[in-house]
Symmetry: C3
Subunit: 347 residues, 3 copies
C-alpha cells in the first residue's frame, strides 16, 4: 500500500485533488477505487469520465480536471514504469541454492545466487552475485553469467555461453544451440561443427521460446540494452547492436548484422550475410534480402522503403481494376487505330 | 479389442456386412484386417476397392456396397472422433504425486491429481481434481488449475496463471511470461513491469512451444473452447473469444482482441490494438493492420477481402505481362498521336 | 593441439610454407597465431593479407602465395568440416546413468548410454548404444531410439516416438505432440484423438524449439539425412523425404509430403495435403497452396516460379509508376478520341 502523495513526492509529480491509498495499478476500464490508473494515449481520454480508479496518472493539469485525485506527469509512460516497479512482485518465492538442484562441484556461485529445485548448473560455470536461476534451467559447462540476471524456468544455456549483468530471459529460451551449418557432399549433408560462442551483453532482455544459436566460429552477439520478444530466431554468427527491439517471431539468418537502435516489428525475416545499419525500422512481416543503410524505414516482402511500400500495397489492392483499365485501353486504342486508318483511307 | 457391432450399437450406426474384431484405426491405405478405417473425404473413395481394412466407417449405404464390413454414419468425422477416443491410450503411465516432484507445502491438490517426477508446483497453487502434471512442468506461485487438465512435459505456467477445466497443453508451452513492454528513455529502453494475469478458460487446448504472455495490467484471456496450435505467439493483453481455431506459428501483437468462432490459418500476423469481430476467417500468412468486422473473410499481407485477394494475386502474377502491355500501349498511343498530328497537318 | 603437417597428412592436403602448431579454428578476421583459418568464399580473399591466422586452408596454390603457412584443399568446406570435428569438444561432461535421472525400471538401455541428471525415461522405452540424453529431456513410454543419438537439454519425445541412429536434436524440441485435429460440432470443436506415430530416420538433425507432431493415424515421418532448423512446425502426418534442408521458422500443415533433396529457406509456409516433388527449392517466406513438381524452384506468397517471382516483385515495386502511366494513357486516349472525333466532324 502506498499513498498517492508518497508517489508524488518520490517521483516529483504534482498531486491534484485528494490523497489516496493505492494497492495496485490497472487500466482505466478495469481499475477499482484502490487502484492507480493512467492516461498515456489521448484516444482513451473519454474513459476518464467513467473510470472507478482511485487516482489517475495524467499528462497535464487539464486532464486532471474533473478527477477526484490525479498525479500530473511530464512523461506518463516513464513514470508509470517507475510506479509499476513498486507494485511488481518478483516471481519465485525462493532464495539460496536448493538441495534439489544439480550444481556441479566445480561451478562458482557469487553471493546471493538463487538456484531453484530441478535446475542444472554444469562444470566450471560461474554465476554472478544476485542472479536467480529458476527450475528446469540448464547451464552447460563453462558458462559465465553476470550479476543480477534472471533466468526463468526452462532456459537453456549451452556450453560457453556468456551473459552480462542484469540479463533477463523468459521461459523456454535456448541460447547457444548449434547453428544450421552443413556441407553438401555426395554422401549427404555433413555437419559443420559449431565451435563458436554466444555473448549476450548487459541489460538484454529475451522473451520465451526464443532461439539464439552459437557461432560456427567466432561469435554470435546481442548488444547491450537490446530487447528480444518471444519465438525469435537468431542464427549463427548474427550480431545485433545496442538498444534494438526485435518483436515476436522475427528471424535473422546466419551472419547477418544489424546496428544500434533498430526496430523489427513481428514476423520480420532477414536473409543471411546482410549488413543492416543503425536506426533501421522494419514493418511487420518484412522480408529483407539485401543490406540496408542507416535510418532506413521499410516494409513488405521483398522490402521497400516505407512510402513505396504503402503506395505499392495500394497498387496491389487495385490490380483487378488496373487489369480492367488495361483491357479497356487496349480496346480503345485498337478502335482508334481502326478509325484513324479508315479515316485516312477515306481521305 | 471391440466388435464392429458394439461400435454400431454404442454410436447408433448401421452395420452393413460382417461383424469384425477391431483393435485399431488407420487410414484406408495403411489399415490392416483388424483395423477400422473411414471414408470422410470423397476424394479418397477410389481407395475403398483396395483397402485391407477389416471394417470401414462410411457416410452412406452406397459407399458400403462392395465392402465386406462397413459402419454407416451420418457424420463420419464426428463418429470417427468418438471411436478414436475408445482406442486412444492416455500418455504417462503414472498416477499420484511422485516423491521426485517438487510440490510446495502450501500447494493444494484436489482428488486424483497426478504430479509426475521432476515437475515443480509452487507456493499456494491450487490444482483441481483429476488434473495431470507431466515431468518438467513448472507451476509458479498462486496459479489456479481447474479439474481434469492435462499439462504435458515442460509446460510453464508463470505466477498467477488461471486455467479452467479440461484445459490441455502440449509440451514446452509457456503461459504468463512477461509481455514485451518498454518505455524509450535517453538511457535506453526501460521495462514496464508486467503485473497483469493470464486466464485460459475451460476446454481450451494449446499446442507445443506456444507462448501466451501475461497482461501488462489487467488480463490476457483465451475464451472457452478455443484451440491453439504449435509455436503461436499471443502478446500481452490479447483477448481471444470462444471456439476459435488458431493454426501454427500465428502471432497476435499486444492488446488485439478477436471475437468468437474465428479461424486463423498458419503464420497469420495481427498488429497490436486491433478489434477483430466474430466468425472472421483469415488465410495463411495474412498480415492484418486494421480492425475487421464480423464475418470478414480475407487473406494477404496487407490483408484483403477474400475475392479481392484472389484477384490481386492473379494480378501480381500477371505484372510482368501488365508491364509489357503498358509499354506497347504507350508506344501505340505515341504513334497514334503522331499519325493524327501528321494527318491534321496534312489536311 | 595439432600440427598443420598432421592435418595435411590426415586429409591428403598439400602444406605450403611453414608447419604450425594449431589449437583452434576461426575466421580470417578473428583468428590468432595459433588458429587455423580458411578461405572458402572468394569475397573474403582481400582479408588474406591482414589475417593473423597461423595457417590458412585455401582452395588453390595461387591463394597460398604470400601466406607463411597454408593448407591447399580441393574442397575447402568439406575439409573444414573434417578439421572442425577434430577441434569440436562434445558438450556435457558426463557419462553413465545419473542417479538423479528418472529411468523407469522397464526401460532398456544399450551399452554406453548416458542419461544425465533430471532427465526422464519412461516405461518400456529402448535406447540404443552410445546415445546421450541431456538433463530435462522427457522420453515417454514405448519410445525407440537408435544408436549414438544426441538429445540436448529439454527435448521431449512423446510416447511411441521412433528415432533412427545418429539423430541429433537441439534443446527444447518436441516430437510426437498431438496434431491439431478437431471436428466442428454444434457443441464446439471436438478433439480427434491423435493415435499415430512419429518416425525420425537415421542421420536426421533437428534444431531448437521445433515441433513435429505425431500423426492423427498412421505416420509422421522425417527421412534419412534431412536437417531441420529452429522453430520449425511439422504438423500431423507430414512426410519429409531424404536429405532435405528446412530452415528456421518454416511450417508445414497437415498431411503435406515433400520429396528428397528439397530446400526450404526460412519462414516458408506449406498448406495442408500438398505433394511437393524432389529437389524443390523454395525462397524465404514462400507461401505454397498447391502441389509442386520435381525440380520446381520458386518464391513468393502465393508462390511463383523463380523467374516469375523476380519479375512480379519488380512489378510490385513499380506499381505506383504503373498507376501513373495508366492515368496518363487514359487521358491521352480520351484526348485522341476527342481530337479524332472533332477532326472527323470537321471533315
Amino acid at each position: 500500500m502506498v499513498l498517492a502523495s508518497e508517489l508524488a513526492q518520490g517521483l516529483g509529480l504534482a498531486l491534484a485533488g485528494e490523497d489516496r491509498d493505492l494497492t495496485g495499478v490497472n487500466t482505466l476500464e478495469a481499475a477499482g477505487p484502490s487502484d492507480l490508473s493512467f492516461l498515456a494515449n489521448p484516444k482513451y481520454a473519454p474513459q476518464l469520465a467513467a473510470t472507478r480508479a482511485g487516482c489517475v496518472l495524467v499528462g497535464g493539469p487539464d486532464q486532471a480536471q474533473g478527477l477526484a485525485s490525479a498525479l500530473v506527469s511530464a512523461n506518463v509512460y516513464q513514470d508509470l514504469a517507475k510506479i509499476l516497479h513498486l507494485f511488481a512482485k518478483p516471481q519465485g518465492d525462493m532464495t539460496g541454492v536448493s538441495p534439489l538442484a544439480f550444481v556441479h562441484e566445480s561451478a562458482e556461485l557469487g553471493e546471493n545466487v538463487t538456484v531453484m529445485p530441478l535446475a542444472f548448473v554444469g562444470p566450471r560455470t560461474k554465476i554472478g552475485p544476485g542472479t536467480r536461476i529458476f527450475p528446469h534451467c540448464y547451464l552447460g559447462e563453462d558458462c559465465t553469467l553476470g550479476r543480477d540476471c534472471l533466468l526463468y524456468p526452462g532456459v537453456t544455456l549451452m556450453a560457453g555461453t556468456i551473459l552480462g549483468d542484469r540479463v533477463s530471459i523468459q521461459p523456454g529460451t535456448v541460447i547457444g544451440g548449434d547453428g544450421f551449418g552443413y556441407v553438401p557432399t555426395p554422401a549427404g549433408h555433413v555437419k559443420i561443427p559449431q565451435i563458436g560462442r554466444t555473448i549476450i551483453e548487459s541489460d538484454v532482455e529475451i522473451g520465451a521460446n526464443t532461439c539464439i544459436d552459437r557461432a560456427a566460429l567466432d561469435l554470435t552477439q546481442v548488444g547491450q540494452g537490446t530487447k528480444i520478444d518471444n519465438l525469435v530466431h537468431l542464427a549463427h554468427n548474427v550480431r545485433i547492436g545496442r538498444n534494438c527491439l526485435l518483436a515476436g517471431q522475427s528471424g535473422l539468418a546466419g551472419s547477418t548484422r544489424i546496428g544500434d537502435n533498430c526496430i523489427l516489428a513481428g514476423q520480420v525475416g532477414l536473409a543471411d550475410n546482410l549488413t543492416i545499419g543503425d536506426n533501421v525500422v522494419l514493418g511487420a512481416q518484412s522480408g529483407v534480402n539485401h543490406s540496408l543503410p542507416d535510418n532506413y524505414r521499410g516494409a513488405g516482402s521483398p522490402v521497400l522503403a516505407q512510402g513505396d511500400y504503402l503506395r505499392a500495397s495500394v497498387g496491389v489492392s487495385r490490380l483487378p481494376q488496373i487489369m480492367k483499365q488495361l483491357s479497356r485501353l487496349e480496346k480503345d486504342v485498337e478502335e482508334l487505330k481502326t478509325t484513324l486508318a479508315r479515316n485516312m483511307n477515306h481521305e
